[in-house]
């Protein structure tokens, strides 16, 4: 069977890796290409690069960075942030990205998901969804968590799956940055309802949290940032512990 994946996420701002709490208060966490190499050597299964300022600043894609990353690492990586068109996608894939991730733009022009999937295959389309649990429901948020919508998380996930998403990257805004564990209940529901893989994000603080996200949350992959950037959890050690808990990972 396919192994569960551990995915360090690098939030990029002006070509530097940054990390904030609940999408705010950004701290510098290093050079993305250097970090990418280190993670790849330590046993990361994939990497995700998100240009967190791209949407707000209407900046174009990260093609240059994608090329540099692709020159330096030999594991798959996803790039997201500010992707608005097929041309943006094409440029990133041509520069060596394996997948692209779209979030706000997927809500604004849902047909873009269909178009990317038709042209480049659904394996390269990751739809990222930021959601928050408010008044007994999970709602989708846009623009890096700054804009609330009335769209329900599961409805939206099912819709983008139909439109041709190959994976869902779900971030719980309630959990993100708290290091108190992933949003296990909703993850389990998402994973049960969807037929495509789910990448869980938001809340990783301990090795136990990763065990739980695979065993209870039924996630196919777990994404985290600060616990890796600030070396609170070492990937190799994390994976050895997952194996001890009978979770299949690549060692």
């Amino acid at each position: 069977m396919v192994a569960k994946r551990i995915i360090p996420c690098l939030d990029i701002d002006n070509n530097r890796t940054v990390k904030g709490v609940n999408f705010l208060n950004l701290i510098d966490a290093g050079d993305p290409v250097e970090l990418a190499k280190i993670y790849s050597d330590e046993g990361a299964d994939e990497l995700v690069f998100l240009d967190i300022t791209a949407t707000k600043d209407k900046r174009k894609t990260l093609s240059k960075l994608a090329k540099k990353i692709s020159e330096n690492i030999n594991i798959p990586f996803t790039v997201g942030g500010g992707i608005k068109s097929l041309d943006d996608v094409s440029s990133l894939l041509r520069n060596g990205a394996d997948k692209i991730s779209i979030n706000t733009q997927a809500v604004k022009t849902p047909n873009l998901v269909n178009e990317i999937s038709l042209k480049f295959g659904n394996q390269c389309v990751v739809v990222a969804i930021d959601a928050k649990f408010v008044n007994d429901s999970w709602f989708v948020y846009l623009v890096g968590g700054r804009e609330k919508t009335k769209i329900k998380l599961i409805d939206w996930a099912l819709e983008v799956q139909d439109r041709g998403a190959g994976e869902i990257l779900f971030t719980s805004m309630n959990n993100d940055g708290t290091k108190s564990g992933f949003a296990l209940d909703i993850l389990q529901k998402l994973s049960d309802r969807l037929t495509i893989p789910v990448i869980a994000s938001g809340g990783a603080g301990t090795i136990q949290d990763f065990t739980d996200v695979f065993k209870i949350g039924k996630a196919d992959a777990a994404l985290a940032a600060s616990v890796f950037h600030f070396k609170e959890i070492e990937i190799k050690n994390l994976k050895e512990n997952l194996v001890k808990n009978n979770i299949k990972v690549r060692l």
Binding site: M1, V2, A3, K4, R5, S40, D45, K67, S70, E71, N74, I75, P76, L93, R94, N95, G96, A97, D98, L118, K119, F120, G121, N122, Q123, C124, G166, E167, L194, T195, I196, P197, D220, A221, R250
Partner: protein, 195 residues
């Protein structure tokens, strides 16, 4: 040695190019039939939809060139599937080098596409020289090549399927060696140096 990567407007070839660069192997990304036929090794990439990819090959008459290649050729991912007879994806007639029909993963308990690292076992070719049984490689696919006499590596995702195939000078890997860390780089190196 001349290495060609087939250019038919399909496939994410930058990673393959960078992989060859890291190995210090020069290469030529080309759609020129003469260049392809005269190269010592040919890499045949591919991602996305099978029927779209076949159309692109035919538009450049590369479908006839590829089956004529006499040197070792390595189809990667969709490239491997296109070497087969047909694919359930868009009910597509493929190149027919290998007498297999590509099928869709059909198991309600499995996420499709399969995305991630899976083991390869029953390794049978020089392309796997120095590679241990059960090593992990990176796979991204919704369709698979069933096991047959041509299987030189197998993997399991609900069912046991071909993760690599070989007939004469034609080789295929379902996984992406260029994305499979040092194991994948070794497989590419073997393809260039051992076959």
């Amino acid at each position: 040695m001349k290495i060609a990567i087939v250019n038919y407007g399909v496939g994410n070839i930058m990673s393959i190019e960078h992989c060859l660069d890291r190995l210090g192997i020069s290469h030529n990304y080309t759609s020129d039939p003469y260049e392809i036929l005269s190269s010592n090794k040919v890499i045949f990439p591919g991602v996305g939809d099978a029927s779209y990819a076949m159309k692109k090959l035919k538009n450049q008459n590369l479908d006839k060139i590829i089956v004529d290649i006499k040197h070792p050729i390595l189809g990667i991912c969709l490239g491997m599937q296109l070497l087969c007879k047909s694919s359930e994806e868009g009910d597509t007639k493929c190149l027919g080098v290998i007498d297999s029909d590509v099928k869709k993963f059909d198991n309600k308990n499995l996420k499709v596409p399969q995305i991630g690292w899976n083991n390869i076992t029953e390794l049978k070719s020089k392309i796997f020289k120095g590679i241990k049984e059960n090593e992990f490689v990176y796979m991204v696919h919704s369709y698979y090549v069933p096991k047959s006499n041509y299987t030189i590596a197998s993997s399991t995702y609900g069912i046991n399927y071909s993760s690599a195939i070989n007939k004469n000078n034609f080789y295929g890997t379902q996984f992406h060696p260029e994305k499979s860390g040092s194991v994948g780089e070794k497989i590419i190196k073997n393809f260039i140096e051992e076959l």
